[in-house]
Structure formats: structure tokens, C-alpha cells
Symmetry: C2
Subunit: 309 residues, 2 copies
């Protein structure tokens, strides 16, 4: 699982940072890419990466500000243009469907795939299948805004074949039964319980996306024990009051969340244009005083989940 940052700036595009979009690449796990927000020119950014638009299976919108959604219609049209035919799910606050559907209707766009809209009226579990679940939680921005917590399901450990050697089990269905955790009776009468021969669960990962928001306790729920928290960090702690007034976070408040919630790593994004170039390292240093494993991300940065600086 990897995070690739397609837009890491706040509000308006600048030469250094595009507006918001974060890709969660789950190629090994699901052969899919999920996007969190789609600011204008996200499809242009994707052109410079290895991401294939048709692999984008789910899009999670945090809130309906233009710098988080104006790239959506163009991306959807290009996904069709580039041969995407698999269905796409779009999660987000009420209104996202009207925006997308109006854009597609007015432009006479006919997509060759189906879009399913999941408009959120409240937080909670929004997706759940065999391998992953996703929870949304209401943040505290000027307009309705959701954070997301992506949770990989526990993955059953491997069958401990070495420990089974002494039983001289013939090749065949018995291994499968043991792996499924069943009780098996061998020819010599020995009973083996599969549960005793399965290794520990493989570590499953949690990724949390906290978009535009003031601090609110809901952030903690979304962030508990996360492998990576991607947290907006529009301002430094010097501008704490400004951050509060504009319903945004500081690098320090994001780091406090990561520490309190026992996260493994923190990636700061949604950086104000006032911190140009190396200026953004102020935010990183500030956060690292509270939570060491922190990075300020730049457009096109790729991070493994979890990561170590």
C-alpha cells in the first residue's frame, strides 16, 4: 500500500503545489487506486505518474470546496476516454452528485462506465468488503467535511507446514482443510486442529485522511493506531488563531493527534502558499518536536504504508 500525493497545496494552485488530491495505491491488495479529493488538474498531475485512471475504483471527497472537487468532471471524462469501463464509486457530502451529474449532462458526456454515488449524511462505516472497510467521521470545517479511516481486515496467517511434517500428511485436500482451520482425522487416528497450525495474523494496515478542519475529537477516533495519518496542516503554530478562524489545522495540532492516537507516521499536506519552497520545513520541524515520524509532503511524493523517516 502506497500513498502518492497529487496535490499538496491549500486553496488555489501555485507553481509549487497543486490543489488537493491524494492517491492510495492498493495495487497488491486490490489492484485498485483510491483517490481522496480531486482538485482541478488532478488528471494533469496523474499524467506525470504511473497511475492508470481506469484503476481508480473509488473516490472519496472530503468536502465540496472547489479546490477539492473541480478536477472531478475532467478526470471522469478522461477515465472513459482512456478505456475505463469498470464501475466507479464516489463518496462525499450531499451535493457531490449534483455537481458531477450537472457537469456531465451540460457537456453531453457519455461515460462508458457506471458511477455509484454514496452521499454521506452522517459519519460511520461507508464501505465494507472481504479485505477492507472505510469509516467516515465529521470534521469541523466551514462546510460539511469528512475525514476517512481506511482499515485493512486482519489477514489470516500462513499454514505452518514445517510443524506438520512429522505427521506424514499425504499431498491432497487435508492441507486445505487445516488451512481453513478445520479439525482433521488422519488415517492413524490422530486428530489435528487446523487452528493450532496457523501462524499469527499478518499485520493489517490503517490509513487515516484528515482534510480541512479545526481540531475536533472525531479526529482522534479516525486516527487511533493508524499506520499513517495524512493530515492537513495549512498553518504553523504561530498562526494558531488564523487556523482556528479559518477552520484549519496547524502542524503542531496534527502532531498532537498523531502522538495521542499512537500513530506510526504523520504526513502533512494542504500547505498554505505562504510556506514556499523550503519554507514548508518550518512546519515539519514544528511537528517533529511533538511527533518524530513526520514529513511535509510535496506533489508527486510517494510513501509506503507504514513509512520510516
Amino acid at each position: 500500500m502506497e500513498l502518492e500525493f497529487l496535490g499538496t497545496g491549500a486553496g488555489v494552485p501555485s507553481k509549487g503545489r497543486n490543489v488537493s488530491s491524494t492517491a492510495l495505491k492498493m495495487l497488491d491488495e486490490r489492484n485498485e487506486v483510491w483517490l481522496f479529493d480531486v482538485g482541478e488538474a488532478t488528471q494533469h498531475q496523474i499524467l506525470r505518474t504511473t497511475i492508470r485512471p481506469r484503476k481508480i475504483a473509488k473516490i472519496f471527497i472530503t468536502h465540496l470546496h472547489g479546490d477539492h472537487i473541480f478536477g472531478l468532471p475532467g478526470l471522469l471524462a478522461s477515465r472513459a476516454n482512456q478505456g475505463g469501463t469498470s464501475p466507479l464509486e464516489i463518496y462525499g457530502p450531499v451535493g457531490i452528485k449534483e455537481f458531477v451529474e450537472t457537469s456531465l449532462r451540460v457537456t453531453g458526456s457519455k461515460l462508458n462506465y457506471r458511477i455509484k454515488y454514496i452521499e454521506l449524511k452522517t459519519g460511520g462505516e461507508v464501505f465494507n468488503d472481504k479485505t477492507f472497510s472505510v469509516y467516515a467521521g465529521k470534521l469541523k470545517h466551514r462546510i460539511t467535511c469528512y475525514g476517512y479511516r481506511v482499515v485493512e481486515k486482519p489477514r489470516t496467517g500462513e499454514l505452518l507446514v514445517d510443524e506438520l511434517k512429522k505427521y506424514n500428511i499425504p499431498n491432497g485436500p487435508i492441507f486445505g482443510q487445516l488451512k481453513a482451520g478445520k479439525i482433521v482425522k488422519l488415517e492413524d487416528g490422530t486428530e489435528l486442529n487446523g487452528q493450532d497450525f496457523i501462524g499469527p495474523d499478518k499485520p493489517s494496515k490503517v490509513v487515516t485522511i484528515i482534510s480541512d478542519t479545526r481540531y475536533t475529537p472525531e479526529i482522534d477516533k479516525l486516527s487511533q493506531d493508524a499506520d499513517v495519518i495524512v493530515h492537513e496542516s495549512t498553518f504553523s503554530n504561530d498562526e494558531k488563531q488564523l487556523a482556528y478562524n479559518y477552520f484549519h489545522s496547524t502542524a503542531t495540532s496534527a502532531a498532537e493527534v498523531a502522538k495521542k492516537c499512537n500513530a506510526k507516521g504523520l504526513l502533512l499536506t494542504h500547505i498554505s502558499a505562504r510556506y514556499t519552497g523550503k519554507g514548508s520545513l518550518i512546519l515539519q520541524k514544528e511537528a517533529q518536536k511533538v511527533f518524530k515520524n513526520t514529513k511535509v509532503v510535496n506533489d508527486f511524493d510517494i510513501y509506503e504504508v507504514p513509512f520510516k523517516i
Copy 2:
């Protein structure tokens, strides 16, 4: 008057060309910039030019395909963000208002300037003031599409002061009266007609914008005696049938228009991604066989009106 090309590609953005947008810079004439189409990431392109978004006073949309309008909401929001307060006019086919207003409403955008929508139901004069007029004409694309003809008003010539010397006219209001074309009686009884002392009209310019279309006679009306025709040229003459099927033009058909209409110059844009890099010179050579003063334009090219290759 200058043309600056912000997006010269067809359909979808590529690494080499962004989707459609053309700026007509009228800084000397009106201290304004007019845009023709606003594909996604036009505001990103503008970041790399000297164009100030608040100087954009009029936007002419040729048709409602996404590659010609998806940059509009973001540009409008950024224009406000960068201190634009002067009103803005948006011309285009019916539906452009719904698209823009839905985008602004859903995102809760409050602009600090007024937008006046001029939705066209037919061709004809769409704008007229002291110095310029603009005509729209219906082209032949898959959906309603307009070409535009921008006409500078004749500019009165200079007062021929040298020829007035012999009359020993005292400094003062008489010069102004003569310049205004009035009849003036001097102290010695001589009558002078201002009309006789005004030089020839200064050349006034015509710029024609022909967007996505098959050939149709309306193109000729829009293009007659133009200083510059900006003409879409998605395909080469080899792909004539493809161009026809997709309601597009070839380089050759654009050049034939320029020749027949006695234009001074032809700029080819909306280039298909199949003609990458130097490949687009095929289109230029092909057109030049018919009409010499032709260039295939690239993103960020700037041309004087008129231009000479």
C-alpha cells in the same frame, strides 16, 4: 493586440498541450484580456504567463464540451481570490450559466464580482461598444458551437497639424474643434473644415476564432478579411474522412478558408495528440501549401495581430 495560447490540444490534456483556451490580450486598446474557452487547468497555465486574472473582462465559450469549459469554475474562484472585483461577462451556448452557477453554488463560492451571462440562441452581434464589436456565428460541431469575430472599430486618423501651420491658428480650442471634424471660422474670416485636415483612418483589426467544426459557409462570414484566423485543425488532410465524421477540421480546410477569405494570417490550434512534438509541423506544411502565412501554435506561444512568419 496579441494572442496568447493557453491550451492548444484536442480532447484531453497531454504532456505537450493543455486543453483549449486562447487569450486575446487587448492591454493597449482596452486594458483587458478576453478568453476564448477555458479548458481544465487554464488557471494553472495562466500562472506561467504575465496575464492577471482580474484583467480578464470577457470570456467567450465556443461550445460546452468539457475540454473547453471545465477550467471555468476554478478560474472564476481564483480571479476572486486574487482581488478581481470588476464585473465579468460570459458569452456562450445555453447551458453555460447552469454549469457555472451549479459549480459555484455547490462549492459555496462567493465571488466578489458580478457575472453577466450572455447565452446565445443564435448567431449575430453579441457585443458592441465604442471601440469593439463581436459577432458570433453557428459552426457545425456535434453540439451547438459558435465561432467569434472580434472587430475593432475604425480609429479616426490624426489631425494633420503640419498642413494647418500656414493658417497661424493660435493655441487653444480651435485645434480640438478641427480634430472633432467641425467647421471653424478664423479671425481673418477663413473657414476651415476639420474633415479636410484629418488623416486616413488608422487600421483597425479583426480577429476570428473558429473552434471545433466541420467546414460550413458560416466560417467564411466570420473570417472575411481577418487579420488573424485562429482555426481548429485537429487532423491532417490524410484524415479528412475522420475529421468529417467527428465534426472537425483539417489543416488544409482551414488554409482554404484563410485564402478564400483574404485573411492576413492563420494560426492552427486544437491539435490532436497523434501529432506529438515536431509531428504537428506536418499540419503546418500542409496548410502552407494553400496559405503561406500559417503557423501551428503551441502552448504559451504569443502572436502579434497581425503577424508575419
